[in-house]
């Protein structure tokens, strides 16, 4: 009996020990070094996110267009170009409701071109009339959607991480899509109201994060955030997020972003949206040099703040350029006629992009000209899945084709930078 007891104990101990030691390493995780630096690891290897924001809306269509189901498979044409450039990640803001098509895109980009996908959720940010983050029913509905997304795609080998929200933090300040609740409305001090909204929102994101971690241990969860605004609240109410995914438009430099984050909310950062447009609103002409100048400068800073760079903050995991290809619908979203014209009118100003800040009314940002790849009204065929080329023969049935892609200077400049990142070269302004 003693012998049996002994063997049982040994067996249990061994099983427990083996079980613990054989717990699989997550496919994607963030390693924190002793010096406080962070590094993204994929299949246990360091991974720098060399990403692009991806939303391939063709000329003449708007954001409602279902490109996922486009028979020409624009992502195949783009995936090939991306691979040639060195892109290893696409960022998708929100998945389509047709999960089969979504899986085809994620799987296709990964299997054919080795490109991984960051999947995001707006967290109901654009719902009319506003996102009611203080309402339990609203929270439950969004949570259901997010967890459904995680369950559907967590086993796709191409998935890299989840991003919760985008610039939703601005709604806590009342700047965009302001929302409130009865409790908040009772508070007379507007600064306290702001803090109450931030607590509600970031607590909700934290709750979501914890539930995702229960379902999926293989992928990190990022808090999407506009700039670093509100992260002092996130530190308190969203401690379980694995990283922050920030949208930053600061021109040629990110300034003290990385160090400031370390001091505010010590989490690794993925610059999930940054970039520059290529239209000079002052001279009223396309300027690819301007875009390439800003993007190269921004990538130099991203690399300067990766783990192991003694001069940087060591907390950057990479970035996603906004954006892969131009979107011709953005300037006038309500007028379908304008979706077939690449509008040159600007409707917002950012002094950090200073070359054309003298434009009328200082409006220098041209929303339809952010692509590092231009679109042409000429069509080219998508990839023929049978022959794995864009050569069409009579056996194939294809649609009308996709808008021809024309890489801009930034495409080539960043391609060369990624091949040989040199952080010390200071190029001329233009």
């Amino acid at each position: 009996m003693k012998k049996l007891y002994f063997f049982t104990s040994v067996f249990l101990l061994a099983a427990l020990t083996l079980g613990m030691s054989s717990r699989p390493t997550p496919k994607v995780f963030i390693k924190k070094f002793k010096n406080g630096d962070y590094q993204l690891r994929v299949n246990s290897k360091p991974y720098i996110i060399k990403g692009v924001c991806y939303n391939p809306i063709p000329i003449g269509k708007n954001h409602e267009y279902d490109w996922w189901s486009d028979p020409n498979k624009p992502w195949e044409v783009d995936g090939r170009l991306m691979k040639e450039m060195g892109v290893n990640t696409v960022r998708l803001y929100q998945v389509h409701e047709n999960s089969d098509e979504v899986k085809k895109v994620i799987r296709g980009l990964y299997e054919k071109y080795g490109i991984r996908t960051v999947l995001g959720s707006w967290l109901g940010f654009w719902e009319y009339p506003c996102p009611f983050y203080g309402d339990k029913k609203f929270q439950d509905r969004i949570k259901k959607e997010v967890l459904e997304m995680v369950r559907l795609y967590k086993d796709e080998p191409g998935v890299l991480m989840w991003v919760l929200g985008n610039e939703n933090n601005y709604s806590c300040l009342g700047q965009v899509n302001p929302w409130s609740s009865d409790e908040i409305d009772k508070e007379p001090d507007p600064q306290k109201q702001k803090a109450m909204r931030a607590k509600t929102y970031y607590s909700f994101v934290n709750d979501l994060t914890r539930e995702i971690h229960q379902i999926d241990t293989d992928h990190p969860v990022a808090l999407g955030n506009g700039e670093l605004v509100g992260l002092e609240f996130a530190k308190e109410y969203a401690p379980d997020v694995d990283l922050v995914a920030c949208i930053i438009y600061r021109g040629k430099t990110f300034g003290n972003l990385f160090k400031s984050l370390k001091a505010t909310f010590d989490k690794p950062i993925f610059i999930s949206e940054f970039g520059a447009d290529c239209y000079d609103a002052y001279l009223k002409k396309e300027d690819q040099n301007m875009q390439a100048f800003f993007l190269e400068s921004q990538w130099r800073q991203i690399y300067g703040n990766l783990a192991g760079n003694k001069d940087g903050a060591g907390n950057c995991l990479g970035g996603a350029i906004f954006e892969w290809s131009d979107e011709w619908w953005k300037h006038n979203q309500d007028s379908s006629d304008s979706w077939s014209v690449q509008d040159t009118e600007s409707n917002w100003s950012n002094g950090s992009y200073y070359f054309d800040i003298k434009a009328e009314g200082n409006k220098n940002m041209n929303e339809e000209w952010f692509g590092i790849v231009a679109l042409s009204k000429d069509l080219e065929q998508g990839i023929n899945p049978r022959t794995n080329s864009n050569i069409i023969d009579n056996k194939d049935s294809v649609g009308a084709g996709v808008n021809k892609r024309i890489p801009r200077k930034a495409y080539y400049v960043i391609r060369e930078f990624w091949k040989k990142p040199d952080l010390n070269i200071k190029r001329k302004k233009k």
Binding site: P190, N350, G351
Partner: protein, 379 residues
């Protein structure tokens, strides 16, 4: 004979240049005395309230050297409604960058001048070298100030070491305003010149000492930054930098009247205090305020209940961006003076162009707002 001619030509053409190269000039004179043959540049670039300025370039009243100095009288009457005035020395006269007339002053590394006030206490907001733009822009822009004059001659130096002096059209300039000199000012300048100083080193960016005032009193030489960055419905704003209505400290405070009339159709308005004036990040002129742990100011509303959406430090983005930003708000003002603090701990304040900013909107101030600010300072 031809050979001799050739030799003479060669010597004639190249020898002086060679000698010149060996003995590079040690100074380049602007103004020694009226009609001195070494003078360069012309004080032709009158700016701002030009009607408030009088100049006598051959004043015989107690010159520093020689027989004359330049006397400026600024009466602060806002003849052109600007509230400030100044003069640039240019070459040729009235060259705002349209003519290729600048000098190559490579080899010089400082500008010196002597100045005194008629009474003492006159404040020149800033003195400048370069900074004129246009088709032929100056190769550098350097500013120094404010300078509070004494009633005796004193020499001032602008360090230009390490600066690109290959093209300088705006050789020297001064500017001041009525807030700093509410009763006007009479002052004298003499012996202006560029010099080569072998021992001078480039000026490293110095960390400013605390407290560092943005606004102390209307005419205080301690004031920094200019409330020049009017935003949104700028036509809705009336700014008085010398209000005598119950200041918190000293003899004056700032009174802001925001009408909320949406003059420009924006629905909001605000003012950024900048260095220098109107610098939206296009001029490399940030202060190093690394020693600041907070910005404090006192504020009150005329009625109480006025709502300021944001009060901010830093955040100007341009070719030269502020190193950080910090913000508080919304703030609902009391009728009594109340102290507010913007915490700067952990912030990178090493480069600040936009020292202070407020913004308000009509949604929360449908009847407009009148409010007062005083004792704005970094500590």
């Amino acid at each position: 004979m031809k050979k001799l001619l050739a030799m003479l030509l060669v010597l004639g053409l190249f020898l002086p240049a060679a000698l010149l190269a060996e003995e590079s000039p040690k100074e380049f004179v602007f103004y020694a005395d009226k009609n001195a043959k070494d003078n360069h540049y012309i004080p032709s670039g009158w700016m701002g309230d030009t009607g408030d300025i009088k100049m006598n370039d051959q004043s015989a009243v107690n010159p520093k050297t020689g027989t004359t100095s330049i006397e400026f009288t600024y009466n602060a009457k806002k003849a052109q409604g600007q509230g400030w005035a100044g003069v640039y020395w240019q070459n040729p006269a009235n060259n705002w960058g349209s003519k290729n007339g600048g000098f190559d002053l490579t080899g010089m590394n400082k500008l010196t001048f002597w100045a005194r006030g008629a009474k003492g206490g006159e404040v020149i907001q800033k003195v400048m070298v370069g900074g004129i733009k246009g088709t032929y822009p100056d190769s550098t822009a350097v500013e120094m100030g404010p300078v509070e004059l004494t009633d005796t001659w004193k020499q001032y130096t602008i360090n230009l070491a390490g600066k690109d002096l290959t093209y300088i059209n705006g050789g020297f300039g001064w500017a001041t305003n009525g807030d700093l000199n509410p009763e006007g000012a009479t002052f004298y300048i003499d012996d202006i010149k560029f010099e080569a100083d072998a021992n001078l080193k480039p000026e490293s960016k110095k960390q400013e000492m605390m407290p560092f005032y943005i606004y102390s009193d209307r005419s205080s030489a301690k004031n920094h930054f200019i409330p020049s960055g009017w935003m949104g419905d700028y036509g809705d704003i009336k700014y008085e930098g010398a209000s005598k209505e119950d200041p918190y400290l000293g003899d004056s405070s700032i009174k802001v009247t925001y009408s909320g009339k949406k003059t420009q159709g924006s629905g909001w308005a605000g003012i950024f205090w900048q260095n220098p004036a109107n610098n939206w990040g296009n001029v490399d002129a940030g202060y190093d305020l690394s020693k600041a742990a907070s910005l404090t100011f006192w504020a009150k509303g005329a009625k109480g209940g006025e709502r300021i959406e944001e009060i901010k430090v830093g955040g100007i983005m341009g070719e030269f961006s502020d190193s950080d930003s910090a913000v508080i708000g919304p703030v609902i003002l009391n009728k009594e003076w109340t102290k507010y603090t913007i915490d700067l701990k952990g912030k990178d304040m090493s480069y600040i162009i936009g020292g202070f900013c407020w913004s308000a909107n009509v949604d929360n101030n449908p009847e407009g707002a009148i409010f007062y600010l005083d004792e704005i300072k970094f500590e």
